[in-house]
């Protein structure tokens, strides 16, 4: 049974793909024949119901995937910076956009952005650098829908290192903004 179905499925998809190519038409979805075993065999209705269910399942899977990505993004609360650079890394854009949209969707949520620098250079300049790092993330969250009043920023400069020591690895961990 399983083998039959599987083979049938493959040929059905192949047939549809060929039809699609020949007709250059995108109105017909390939899914309808992809679910041949339906309880009601009375033609169009059964096919449509199956298609609807497939579509719902697909949407549900997508929703779950999106949720997982969002949750992972929301669980990412530390963002690292290059040496002497106040702008966040381009790779963090999507994650930060999700944080921004989450704030927009939850107007009662409040966050604190804590900016940090590594210990090289002067303390007060590093304090200013930490401030600019926190502000760069704050501004991006606002662009993505967060309200100014939801975000408090504070810079600790080099006063609260995440990792002690005078190594590049420690410095990399210390140049950061934390969402709290």
């Amino acid at each position: 049974m399983g083998t039959y179905n599987s083979n049938f499925l493959k040929s059905a998809i192949l047939a549809f793909a060929i039809m699609g190519l020949a007709a250059c038409s995108s109105t017909a979805e390939p899914e309808p024949v992809a679910e041949p075993v339906a309880e009601d065999t009375s033609g169009i209705d059964a096919t449509t119901a199956a298609a609807r269910r497939m579509e719902e399942e697909r949407l549900e899977r997508e929703r779950q995937a999106r949720e997982r990505i969002e949750q992972a993004a929301l669980n990412t609360t530390v963002f690292y910076f290059d040496f002497d650079v106040a702008e966040f890394q381009p790779a963090d854009r999507e994650t930060l956009a999700i944080h921004g949209r989450n704030l927009a969707a939850n107007p009662n949520r409040r966050i604190r952005l804590e900016g940090h620098a590594d210990e090289r250079g002067t303390r007060e300049y590093n304090l200013a650098l930490g401030e600019r790092r926190a502000n760069s993330i704050r501004d991006f969250l606002i662009v993505n829908g967060a309200a100014r009043s939801q975000i408090e920023t504070v810079s600790y400069g080099e006063e609260r290192p995440a990792q002690q020591g005078q190594t590049e690895a420690a410095y990399r961990m210390n140049r950061r903004v934390e969402i709290k």
């Binding site: 250079g121 002067t122 303390r123 007060e124 304090l127 401030e131 709290k180």
Partner: protein
């Protein structure tokens, strides 16, 4: 955010006179030909129980620390005079000494007061240069010793001594992953007699002196946000003077004592502001989307020197109080920051990283008239230079064996001494003005 209420409740701050762990001086480099000076142990007369200080040793340490003197070892002395009548100059001439200090400490029965008589001689000219009697409480022998050092330094070098000055600095002690104690401490210039002025679980930064030495300003995060506080040393009274949104940092008094320069980010990015301390009126000095910070003053209190990264990397600029386009002071360095003028008004001490590849931050002096640069240190994480009121030495913070320590260097770079801390990291020294 979730922790902020808890942090507020937990972070307690108090003012106290508790003695803190002392710093001990270690001379790391001196001049090639220091002036030989014989400092004879002072005679002790009368009931001196409770007088634990060795006045002659205090003077000896003071003069050696600034590097220009070398004190004769006591073991090599041929005689131990305590007054002029017992001094035989040939005893000192054959030991190749140039100067001689003798003295005695006397306490009358039943009195809390001690008298310290001292006499200071030029051996080659067989001449007494100074002789006087200082009176003080038995607990003030250390102060009297530093005062004698001031007199000798002035006699020999012609410059005012800074041995009775003090330093402020911040110490940080990691107790656990979650707990660090930050302390604002006050000590003699040599790190002795330190006391804790403020203690907090939140960072303390940027201690600064008022020009009359009576008040201090600093940044405390005790409210979980950086805010500026002013404290009167004699009474311990303190008040928060700023509460603007964003950064409130880097307070520095103008030399005339009327204004306080500071950094605020209330209008977006960190910029320099000046507060008139009589009217509380606030004036914005810089207005730039990048970071402006680390203000200091020219001697006439009319111009503010500051660090800005408007060209990409930090450089030093100055701007008049009326704003206008700032004048850039440093050019040929990758990173130049924290500029402070020496008392001559021409030499600018600063933190300098020469090139991107160089990767070390050192203390240097730029002569703003001749553009000549002298690099004073050879360590790699130097910061927070603070100049002695006589302009002879610069104290700064650096790392030694992975720990924050304070060091001092003479303005010609030849003399260096280190004040290691007993525990934790020490940083951000601020040298007092003359305290009289």
């Amino acid at each position: 955010m979730k922790n902020s209420l808890l942090t507020t409740l937990l972070s307690f701050v108090f003012c106290t006179g508790v003695f803190a762990a002392e710093l001990n001086i270690e001379i790391t480099s001196g001049v090639d030909n220091p002036i030989p000076i014989a400092i004879v142990p002072f005679a002790m007369e009368g009931d001196l129980t409770g007088a634990s200080e060795d006045v002659a040793q205090i003077v000896s340490n003071d003069l050696e620390q600034v590097g220009e003197f070398r004190a004769l070892s006591r073991a090599n002395m041929l005689s131990l005079p305590s007054e002029a009548s017992a001094v035989h100059f040939r005893d000192w001439r054959i030991l190749a000494q140039q100067y001689l200090l003798v003295g005695k400490v006397t306490r009358s029965a039943g009195s809390q007061l001690v008298q310290v008589q001292y006499e200071f001689f030029d051996i080659n000219r067989e001449q007494m240069l100074v002789g006087e009697v200082l009176t003080g409480n038995i607990t003030q022998l250390r102060d009297i010793g530093h005062e004698i050092s001031n007199v000798i330094y002035q006699q020999v070098t012609g410059r005012r001594g800074a041995f009775t000055t003090q330093i402020l600095y911040v110490s940080a002690e990691n107790v656990s992953e979650e707990l660090t104690w930050f302390r604002l401490e006050l000590a003699d210039y040599d790190g002795r007699r330190s006391q804790v002025l403020v203690e907090s679980q939140e960072p303390i930064m940027s201690p600064a002196w008022s020009p009359d030495g009576q008040q201090i300003a600093y940044v405390s995060f005790e409210s979980t946000l950086p805010r500026i506080y002013i404290q009167t040393l004699a009474t311990g009274e303190r008040r928060q003077i700023t509460n603007f949104s964003g950064l409130n940092s880097s307070p520095v008094w103008s030399p005339d004592g009327q204004k306080l320069a500071m950094v605020l980010s209330k209008d977006g990015s960190p910029d320099i502001y000046v507060m008139d301390l009589r009217t509380n009126e606030l004036r914005q000095i810089t207005n730039h989307p990048r970071a402006e910070t680390e203000p200091s003053w020219t001697l006439d209190s009319q111009t503010v020197i500051f660090t800005s990264d408007r060209t990409g990397q930090p450089q030093i600029y100055q701007s008049g109080l009326d704003g206008g386009f700032p004048e850039r002071l440093t050019f040929d360095c990758f990173y130049c920051a924290k500029g402070r003028l020496l008392p001559d008004g021409v030499n600018l001490v600063h933190v300098r990283r020469e090139t991107r590849q160089d990767n070390s931050y050192r203390i240097a002096i730029l002569n703003v008239e001749t553009a000549r640069i002298i690099t004073l240190t050879d360590t790699s994480l130097d910061e927070s230079p603070s100049v002695a009121p006589n302009g002879s030495m610069i104290m700064f913070a650096t790392k030694h064996n992975g720990r924050g320590v304070l060091e001092a260097v003479s303005i010609d770079g030849r003399v260096k001494f280190r004040l290691p801390s007993a525990q934790g990291d020490v940083r951000e020294p601020s040298w007092s003005p003359y305290l009289n």
